[in-house]
């Protein structure tokens, strides 16, 4: 049902909610965003996935007219973010990584001020604030100062404030970072409901599970570049149906083990630095026997071994090489591998 709804909306407007081409932002020497292309279909949830410092927030800030791109172009529903910023602002809601609400005001006052700024009358603003507080189960806390709000309540209020004008596009910058699992699930439900009512959502996250759970399409960003893009299933399929996790007893044999895996399974294997583990896609579990024999022949002793269905974690690890901090070369390679 949800999918039907989404399709209708996409057909109705027949345009991209977000279209970015070669967007660049440099801070001094640092190219925080280094030529990002994004296309977000109307009515979908789009996930931008990447580690800390990958440039996710900078991308969002440029799309939301908070930062001016140094090069490239971006448009929201066909409106250029640099040339028509005021129009773009009428179409978006932004919920930042740090709650963008007024600390010294109460929840109600916050929502009323934002509503009034968006052109609602006094009575309208009051009703809107009450309705949104109810919707986000904040009514009880409405009059309390924000100082006493928990992280989850703050995020909910922040999201409520972004929804006042019912914008067709909502940016959520790491909406669940720092939330406990229960609050996180509530936030997910809210995001799903938003899309049901016709919104497009672009969210950034470092949690692969979150992207897996919510996003229709995902762009993986690393070092300011999109290193992979596609539906969650496409990304998963690109690294095989299952994946192999393998740890060796002597870390000096790690490289050798990796080479053997690559030779026997004929795939690319990645070494995760922190876990001291090798991961590799595994299309055919039957090849396992060959691999074990090959490892025994080379006298490599195993510490652990498992075959798992791929999670986005593996996708991420494979695409960005060693999780964090990769060479340019491996980035390019994986990009090719993932384009489906």
């Amino acid at each position: 049902m949800q999918n039907n709804n989404r399709k209708n909306i996409a057909k109705g407007s027949g345009e991209w909610a977000v279209e970015a081409k070669g967007v660049v932002k440099t801070f001094g020497e640092n190219r925080a965003v280094d030529g990002v292309d994004l296309k977000v279909p109307t009515g979908s949830i789009y996930g931008v996935l990447g580690p800390n410092g990958a440039g996710k927030t900078t991308v969002i800030r440029m799309l939301a007219t908070l930062l001016r791109p140094d090069a490239g172009s971006a448009s929201i529903f066909g409106h250029d973010v640099v040339k028509e910023p005021h129009i773009v602002r009428q179409l978006i809601g932004v919920t930042g990584q740090y709650a963008s609400v007024d600390e010294s005001l109460s929840a109600t006052e916050n929502l009323i001020i934002f509503s009034r700024l968006l052109g609602l009358g006094k009575a309208e603003a009051k009703n809107k604030a009450a309705a949104l507080l109810e919707e986000f189960s904040l009514t009880e806390a409405a009059k309390r100062p924000l100082k006493h709000f928990s992280g989850g309540m703050r995020r909910r209020l922040d999201l409520a404030a972004s929804l006042i004008s019912q914008p067709p596009l909502i940016f959520l910058d790491e909406p669940t970072t720092g939330l406990d699992p229960r609050t996180r699930n509530q936030m997910w439900d809210t995001i799903r409901r938003l899309v049901k009512s016709g919104s497009t959502v672009l969210l950034t996250t470092q949690y692969l599970q979150e992207a897996d759970e919510l996003a229709d399409r995902v762009a993986v960003i690393d070092h300011g570049r999109v290193v992979a893009e596609g539906t969650v299933n496409e990304l998963k399929a690109s690294i095989g149906n299952s994946s192999l996790h393998l740890g060796v007893q002597h870390s000096r044999q790690m490289e050798e083990a990796r080479r053997i895996i690559e030779r026997v399974l004929n795939v690319r294997a990645a070494v995760s630095t922190e876990g001291g583990k090798i991961t590799a896609p595994m299309a055919d579990v039957d090849r396992m026997t060959d691999l074990l024999i090959a490892l025994r022949e080379s006298d490599i002793q195993l510490a652990e071994l498992s075959v798992q269905k791929p999670s986005l974690d593996e996708v991420f690890l494979t695409i960005t090489g060693q999780g964090a901090g990769t060479s340019e070369e491996s980035n390019n390679k994986s990009e090719k591998a993932v384009e489906v």
Partner: protein, 271 residues
């Protein structure tokens, strides 16, 4: 939320500009926000309540005898001087608070809303007019208690009050600019004091310009603060609106014309 459908982008009426009316409306709403904040933290009004009382008492009794012979005849000279000095010093706080405010996440939301770009700044500055009003009322009240009986009458005192508040508002754009370009709130305080201290003291606010050396008189006479002080003296002591009144207003207008767009542009560029 389930029941209501969100209007798709292409069905919306969109405008790429804010009208003048919307700008004024947005600024007023932002001013309301500023007032709520002041109401929540009344302790930030300490300076505007205590400074007029302490300074008026101090300066009048310290300088009164030396400059005008006795306290009574010094009051018409010193009250306008103290008034201008206090209210304009108060306007520094605008810049400092703006800096603190801008470091908070809520300014990101203001920037992402389809509102007039000037509104978050103009609103904050407008709300601060309440501070100038408090300082003005208290200074005049102190003066009255100490024996000042303005010859010009209440009407002219009111005009004088409005003139000072208006000029302080204009000058606060300068400090707002410092607030936008500075990296920390305390550096705003620092730069502002360095600018303001010579301006208020190298004027005729406390001492008649004629008693100063020639080279200093030259500066004191072109100092805009001197013109504002003279304008206030003319108003409350003689009930007359003179050349200094015009100069003060024109000066205030020029400051706003230069610093308001400059501040807004810098504020927009700094993300």
């Amino acid at each position: 939320m389930d029941s209501m459908q969100i209007k798709p982008a292409h069905e919306r009426k969109l405008r790429n500009k804010t009208s003048f009316r919307q700008s004024v409306k947005n600024s007023l709403i932002m001013a309301v926000r500023g007032l709520i904040k002041i109401r929540r933290t009344p302790e930030q009004l300490f300076d505007v309540t205590l400074q007029p009382i302490i300074f008026t008492l101090m300066f009048t009794y310290i300088f009164g005898g030396a400059i005008s012979g006795d306290v009574q005849s010094y009051l018409p000279v010193i009250i306008p001087g103290i008034l201008v000095q206090t209210v304009i010093t108060t306007s520094i706080v605008t810049g400092v608070q703006l800096r603190e405010d801008m470091d908070k996440g809520v300014f990101d939301r203001f920037k992402s809303l389809p509102i007039a770009r000037i509104a978050p700044l103009a609103g904050a500055l407008l709300a601060d007019s309440i501070r100038y009003t408090i300082a003005t009322v208290l200074t005049f009240t102190m003066g009255y208690i100490m024996g000042l009986r303005p010859e010009g009458g209440l009407g002219y005192v009111l005009i004088a009050a409005l003139l000072v508040i208006g000029c302080a508002w204009a000058i606060s754009w300068i400090f707002a600019f410092f607030g936008v370009i500075a990296r920390t709130a305390s550096s705003v305080q620092g730069i502002s004091m360095i600018v303001l201290f010579p301006l208020t003291f190298l004027s005729n606010a406390f001492v008649p310009a004629e008693t100063m050396p020639d080279w200093l008189q030259w500066f004191v006479k072109i100092n805009p603060i001197s013109h504002l002080v003279t304008a206030v003296r003319d108003l409350i002591n003689q009930g007359s609106i003179g050349w200094d009144f015009t100069i003060s207003l024109v000066g205030a207008a020029i400051i706003v014309a230069i610093f308001a767009p400059l501040t807004v542009r810098t504020y927009m560029r700094k993300a």
